[in-house]
Every structure is written in C-alpha cells, then in structure tokens.
C-alpha cells in the first residue's frame, strides 16, 4: 500500500473500531437485548479468536516440509505455558521468543 492508501485504511479502521465500541450506547438504553444477540454475544468471541489464530497462519504452506511443525509446536508451547502459569504476558513473550528461535536457527 502507498502511504495515502494507508491513511485511508487507518481512518476506516478508526471509524469502524469506534462504531463497534459506541454501538450499544446508541441503541440500548438498559440491559434489554434481543435473544439472538445474546446468543452471539456469548459464543462468537470464542469463535473469532479461533479464526484469528488460523488467520495469522494463513501464509504458512502446510503442504511443504516441515508441514507447519514450527507453528504447531510453538502454539502448543504457548498454550501449555498459559495453562501452567496463567500469565498472559509470560505466555506471549516466551512463546514468541521460542518461535523466533525455531525460525532463525533451524
């Protein structure tokens, strides 16, 4: 993208981002939610987080050796750290260092 296109992209993202944050304040006065929205509210965050994990790996070619092994091992490493230590800073930091090590030295 050119810088000009990037500025427009930033404006779009800023507007959409604010829209998602301001939406409930514009349309709901109390805690009166339609049923289908409640259902999406509850389950969609988990789904989108899962999709985003895959989205970040979309340019990895799983059909070529080592078949995404570095990514899969690093994800398992990060997940285990987080389950054991319950500290998201440590999990993200060490998980990333671990992956950088795999990518840079193997």
């Amino acid at each position: 993208m050119t810088n000009f296109e990037i500025y427009i992209a930033i404006i779009i993202m800023a507007l959409v981002n604010f829209l998602t944050r301001v939406f409930p304040f514009l349309f709901f006065t109390k805690n009166d939610l339609p049923k289908s929205l409640e259902f999406i509210e509850k389950f969609f965050p988990a789904t989108i987080m899962t999709i985003l994990v895959f989205y970040t790996l979309k340019d990895i070619d799983f059909s070529l050796s080592p078949y995404g092994a570095k990514e899969i091992i690093s994800i398992l490493f990060t997940a285990s750290l987080h389950i054991l230590m319950k500290n998201y800073l440590i999990s993200i930091f060490l998980g990333t260092i671990f992956y950088m090590g795999l990518v840079q030295y193997f």
Partner: protein, 229 residues
Amino acid sequence: MKYQRELKAAFKISIPVMMGYLVLGFAFGLLLVSFNYDWYLAPLMSIFIYAGALQFVAINFFNVKAGFVDIAIASLFVNLRQSFYGLSLLKRFRKTGKLKPYLIFGLTDETYALLTTIKDDEQLKKRWYYFFLTALNQIYWFVGATAGAIIGSNIEFNTAGLEFSLTALFVVLCIEQYKNLKNSIPFLVGTVASIFALIFIPSDKMLIVAIFISLLLLFFFRKRLDLND
C-alpha cells in the same frame, strides 16, 4: 492536582495492563517497521485506532493491499466483541458526562476487564477514576508502540518470527475464552470454518469467508449451544 487520589488509584490497578501493553505495543511497533513502513504510523494508529488485535491485523491488510471494503468488514468482525462490552457498562457510564465519549473510545479488552472488576470505593469520583484508568492504558500502548517503531527502525533486529506474537496473543485469548465458556463447540466451529477457508479461499479473503461460515454454523448449532447453558 484536583483528582490526584483518583489518578493514584487508577495507576495502581493498571500496572498489570502497563506491563502487557508496553511489551505487546513494542512488538507491534517493531513488526510494523520490519516491513519498512514509516515509524510514525505506529503512534498514529495507537492514537486513532487503539485496538491491539486490529492493529496487528492491519499490518496484514497493508501487506496484501486489501480492499477498503474488505478492511471495513474484517475490522467490524475482529472488533465485534467490543460491542458486547458496552452492554454491561451502560449503567456504569451513565453519569460520566462529557468524559463518556472518550471512555467508550478507549474500551479495549483489558480496560473493560479492569472497569468491570473495580470494587466500589465511595471516596472516589467515579468518572475521573474511569477516565484516568482508560487514558493510562492508552498511554502505555502508545509508548510501547512508538518505542518499538523508533527503536526498530534505527537498530537492526532479526525480527524473523516476531509476527508470532499475534498468534500467541490469540492462542492465549482462546484459552481465556474457554475458561469462561467451558464449551468447545464455538472453537470447533471456528476451526472448521478456518480450515475450509484456508483450503478453498485465496488467503486475502480467508478472514471474511471464515467469519461468515462460522456465523452460519453457530446459528445451525444454536439449539445445542443454548441447551448447554
């Protein structure tokens, strides 16, 4: 200063977020300049967008020259969860007056988490306390991102693999989601939709397609999910 007490209390509770935002912001800034984008885009985005996951994803948008409509739709879905935060803050924000627009703007995952876990201290002026909390968090993010971008464009780093910080962030958020839900269907839905989109859809359209498929699947499983409640 007039609201020193509120500032102090807000600072104290925001320390864990400070550590997270400085590091994650730094990674964002470093990653951005590693693709040779101008350093000042990092502070610019941290002021006007201020959404961690979206800012990381934005680097992908720039790289693949995504279309503006695609950017708008993908941003909407990446941040859709934020719409639900406001719903539980309607009451809390009612008496915040002219500070309210900024409080809404600054509503990130972590700020939301702090705001909803705060115990009521009658001594404090609520709206200023909320304001300082929100502003401090954004300052941490801004400082981390700017430092990462400036340092990254002046010092040679071997940043290969740094982009994994985003993957790690989402993995951690998945685990946190699972702790709350104790239900694996939404994760399976996300996985199936993603793998389908990865195989059959060009990678720059993968996100939107995966989101739409997963919404369809979620509604398909709605009865089952409601039963599990």
